[in-house]
């Protein structure tokens, strides 16, 4: 009788410790899984904003470039009229500055590739977030499997469920909650 009492006591203690382990995991997993899609969205917004603004800058540069080409044509026309030396030298000077501006506009274009380079770095951050998300969900699988002493088939079912969620672009909070609920978390 004493033995049975001890066993029951031990069982209750085990359940209690298991509950605290589960509670301990549930909060950070839930918080993190909510934060990751949010962060991903923010980064994607930044990338879209950068792209939009870069195109605006390029459109303005195209207009400036077009104007410079017009100025070039006009100066060449004026020069072809054989103006007096004083005017000719001024026109030549304007022409040379205008040519310089055209070159600088082209240089500005190549500097705009910062958007592509920044975008590639941001994509790496997105990949990292994706990996963290996967790792977090794998923590759930292995923790649940260990604490609940799941059978092989159950672990495989749980993994299937997790991979089903992971195959989506984003894991919604509802997905995570449903998964937690399914496994009593």
């Amino acid at each position: 009788m004493k033995d049975l009492e001890a066993i029951i006591k031990e069982l209750i203690e085990n359940v209690k410790s298991l509950e605290s382990v589960i509670e301990g995991i549930k909060k950070p997993v839930s918080e993190s899984s909510q934060l990751i899609p949010e962060t991903t969205r923010n980064i994607e917004d930044v990338m879209a904003y950068l792209e939009k603004e870069s195109h605006k800058i390029m459109s303005l540069l195209e207009e400036i470039n077009k104007n410079s080409e017009e100025i070039k044509k006009d100066i060449n026309f004026l020069l072809s009229l054989n103006p007096v030396n004083q005017i000719k030298s001024r026109l030549e000077s304007v022409n040379s500055k205008n040519e310089e501006n055209i070159k600088k506009i082209l240089e500005l274009y190549s500097h705009l590739s910062f958007h592509d380079l920044a975008g590639q770095q941001l994509k790496l951050v997105l990949e990292l977030l994706e990996n963290i998300k996967n790792a977090l969900l794998n923590v759930i699988v292995s923790q649940v499997a260990r604490e609940k002493d799941l059978k092989k088939e159950e672990i495989s079912g749980l993994k299937g469920k997790v991979s089903e969620i992971l195959s989506k672009d984003r894991v919604s909070q509802e997905d995570v909650d449903a998964l937690l609920e399914e496994f009593g978390l």
């Binding site: 195109h55 082209l106 274009y109 190549s110 592509d116």
Partner: protein
């Protein structure tokens, strides 16, 4: 006798619309006006197999099919294997350059690049 730049049909492959526009504008300034675009290697390969192009400028990191795979596919295709390919990428490690050269690129430019660098590489390829 080399082809005049305006006759050279170029395919610019990059997943970033800004980068495609930058390359197109610089090429226009250099006198190349016959330019088409593709967003990734897969799309590019489909176009190359349908239309005749004289030159390909491709990025490395792209979804669906990356630039390196595109080069390998081009070199493996009997009709495309002699098509000149220039890789324009942020991948600046020595092993990346070696890998690209091994795959069959004709030249390699690291982003960000100046219009002069692009001009120089184009001239080298079409010399």
């Amino acid at each position: 006798m080399p082809m005049p730049p305006s006759d050279i049909k170029i395919l610019v492959v990059d997943d970033m619309s800004t980068m495609r526009r930058i390359i197109r504008t610089i090429l226009n300034q250099l006198g190349y006006s016959n330019i088409e675009e593709a967003e990734n290697g897969k799309q590019a390969l489909a176009r190359l197999q349908k239309e005749k192009f004289d030159f390909v400028i491709t990025d490395w990191n792209m979804p669906e099919m990356d630039g390196l795979q595109l080069v390998k596919e081009i070199r493996a295709d009997e009709n495309l294997k002699s098509l000149p390919v220039l890789m324009v990428t942020a991948e600046a490690k020595k092993e990346n350059v070696m890998e690209a050269l091994k795959a069959g690129v004709n030249n390699y430019i690291v982003k960000p690049f100046t219009p002069e660098v692009l001009k120089e590489k184009m001239e080298k390829i079409f010399k």
